[in-house]
Symmetry: C2
Subunit: 254 residues, 2 copies
């Protein structure tokens, strides 16, 4: 039985609690949060505290708070020599206070409040200062995911950067698509099958194999037409930059 | 029974043939292509010709060739006053020669050679010069899709522009993600669940509701760290532009 305490209760930790709580090998002992939170009824058996001096005894403490706050918070913990991990993609392991044994438990996924996620396929990136702790984190990860991988803080930083491109920036392109349609009173729904297929393609094709479109085939007329449609639009800059890069990549001059 | 002839046999027309051929209300009479093509065995009953003077009699002629070539090709057809449509998102209806009745049959999807697609959910955007032809195109569309919509050439141009953002540009961001991981010897597979969830989210959330990440929450430290990781990278420009736009959108200054 692995005893777990959650420190902070944002999106990541609440999804993690949900996933870990279903497993009989895991006992979630307590949730600490600076502000009072009412846990939903299926978690009623779990202790809640907002008092940092009353954090319970556990095998693993999982910090889920903003990156900027991790360092100071971990320093303020009253106990020592316990395994304390954070769940952030962007923060190094060493931001954690060295008074406890440090580790990382980073589920590489985008979490929204009202969306259920299936952890089975989510990569859990782990890191620890010693092999025992790494083993314990692997065991914890494997209770919810089939894809637990050891990744150093350095590589994780790059992974997080890549995640920003394929998640936040991709989603911003969805926003732009939605805006363009909105201006024409066309429903965003029209783009949804295309969005789904674009994402689905790269399960079996490499992004290079999947690429199509006017920029790749250097279809100058279409590109000019699009730039004309984007006159005075804030999105012209992105259009030009993407088109430039795609042209460079596929070896044709504009 | 609607008799159809395909003029040109690229990705769009071959997928359309595949879908239409299954339907008993449709009879695909002939495929014309400038160069010889061996049709796969399930299409053996369909006539093939590479001789433009031997194009068969049909109710609808579907042109699937590069945008630039549509105008001249449609002018070179030997017959008159027939319904001739093209399947392009980016070309106006009026690029077709006026010697035939003109129309549009544009399936809004990305088609790759070796990927099967389910037409049921694909929006088919139709347009025609007269109500009868529009009705016929609607009937044709509804044999394969549940989403046939009449859209003018003007609005279709914007739709196609939006499609470039959510398909080609999104795919380019996948390429960048893949490159960043590649440099660290990390497998692209790590990003696939994130990519799938990012696309899946907007089925039920608006892109605005779905947005997360350092640029939205103006997490300056992470942004600086990422820009540092992108020193000398060709992707720094895109990172900056997206971050700028996300900051503007979500009302926080960098």
């Amino acid at each position: 039985m692995i005893k777990v305490v959650f420190l902070g209760f944002g999106n990541v930790n609440s999804h993690l609690l949900n996933a870990l709580n279903k497993n009989t090998e895991i006992s979630v002992i307590q949730v600490f949060n600076r502000n009072y939170i009412k846990l939903i009824s299926s978690f009623e058996h779990i202790q809640f505290t907002d008092d940092i001096s009353k954090i319970a005894e556990a095998d693993i403490y999982i910090i889920g708070i903003p990156d900027d706050a991790i360092s100071r918070f971990s320093e303020s913990l009253a106990f020592q020599n316990k395994l304390v991990v954070h769940t952030s993609g962007g923060a190094a392991m060493k931001v954690l206070s060295s008074k406890n044994r440090r580790g990382i438990f980073y589920p590489l996924q985008t979490f929204s409040k009202h969306r259920k996620v299936d952890f089975k396929e989510i990569p859990i990136c782990i890191e620890a200062e010693n092999p025992n702790d790494l083993g314990l984190l692997r065991k914890l990860g494997e209770t919810i995911s089939e894809n637990v991988v050891e990744i150093s803080s350095e590589k994780r930083a790059k992974l997080h950067l890549a995640a920003v491109f394929v998640n936040n920036f991709v989603n911003h392109l969805y926003e732009i698509g939605s805006e363009i349609l909105n201006e024409e009173d066309l429903p965003f729904d029209l783009l949804k099958p295309l969005i789904a297929e674009t994402a689905s393609k790269i399960k079996t094709l490499s992004p290079e194999e999947a690429q199509t479109g006017p920029a790749k085939r250097n279809d100058k007329k279409t590109i000019e037409k699009h730039l004309h449609l984007l006159t005075d639009s804030p999105h012209a800059k992105l259009y030009k930059l993407f088109t430039e890069q795609l042209n460079q990549k596929y070896g044709k001059e504009l």
